[in-house]
Subunit: 212 residues, 2 copies
């Protein structure tokens, strides 16, 4: 079973703060993500900066694009991104036009749970999705529930590379033992830690231990 | 019947270009929109610039926010925006937390057509939606079809203020005669025109003529 990758989501208020975190974790993580919040704050300048600091890493522009997929994707690529996110509410032609320029991840928010639609994504050549912990589970005080795990497994069975996010902590990873998750996405647990490098290593060591 | 407002969507590649257009049309339009594409390019700096050039206009940050609604809305408000968009795929709590900070417009992309969900938006105090011309109509070579008009009217009957966008041209407006559209959103028809001021005036004069 392929070992899951580790992705750090940098949802900071400015690029300099994101860079400071990225500098500390770049030797540990596989994917550097310019978070949506950061892109709103500072535009694709944030992506260019992450590319500069992680020349051999995957850089993700978390645009959650809903429209003008090809045009946005071309800009993300020019800024140095390898991947870009689209929101599940984008039309398939929007996603497909983005996929022509760059590798697309589809972010699964409300209304995504439609198997026919998901098959259209695969048919359009898009095989990456990001699964978010359900709010129901979160409100119920759970970290990740059986329902979440079942959804992740079903998407993998359909043929998707599934990254997971939402309240991700190192101690949560063992719940996914035996599941070929594509990447674990950690935000605050890394960039909000007193020692981001140590926090990233904790994730990385758990991944190495569980998916050895 | 209230007269529809005119909104210019500035989806340019940089803030300076958007400002150059805004300067030419600010005396004609009611709403200056920092388009999603522009926000990706230059962040909320674009919103600050539009607020500076249109101190007495409504400024919209077209973030199409899917998550962290309250945090994003606070940033948009601080940048000078009056309104912010959320994508229909955002959860109701995300939208509601944004609405506490700023006036929210919900952008209706794929999967929006769920009356129960729409009622939840109203119950959360959100009464602005943006209807996009259907791609089906566009692919069929139509401008706006009866199906689009019926959807717009139904949303208005439910209690929404409905703005419309997508391939909007001045000659399209007469199709909406008798319908209390909240705002017409024109993008390329204004910012791509040789004379943006004249193009905006053409829209404004059609609105004045039809909704007199």
């Amino acid at each position: 079973m392929a070992k899951p990758m580790l992705q750090v989501a940098l949802d900071t208020k400015d690029t300099a703060t994101a860079l400071n975190i990225a500098r500390q974790v770049v030797d540990v993580v596989d994917v550097l993500e310019a978070g949506t919040f950061l892109i709103y704050e500072d535009g694709l300048n944030s992506v260019r900066a992450l590319r500069a600091i992680g020349p051999d890493k995957i850089v993700l522009a978390d645009c959650k694009t809903a429209d003008a997929g090809g045009a946005v994707a071309a800009e993300c690529k020019a800024a140095g991104a390898d991947w870009m996110t689209c929101i599940n509410a984008a039309t398939v032609p929007t996603m497909a036009s983005a996929q022509k320029e760059i590798e697309v991840q589809i972010e699964l928010y409300e209304g995504w749970d439609n198997e026919e639609r998901a098959k259209e994504w695969l048919a359009a050549g898009i095989d990456q999705v990001v699964y978010h912990q359900s709010r129901d589970a979160k409100f119920a005080g759970q970290t990740w529930g059986e329902k979440d795990l079942a959804s992740v497994k079903k998407l993998i069975d359909m043929g998707f590379k599934v990254s997971v996010t939402g309240g991700m902590k190192a101690e949560v990873l063992k719940l996914f033992a035996g599941v070929p998750v594509y990447a674990f996405i950690a935000g605050r647990a890394i960039h909000g830690a007193d020692d981001p490098h140590a926090a990233a290593l904790e994730f990385k060591n758990e991944i190495d231990r569980i998916w050895d």
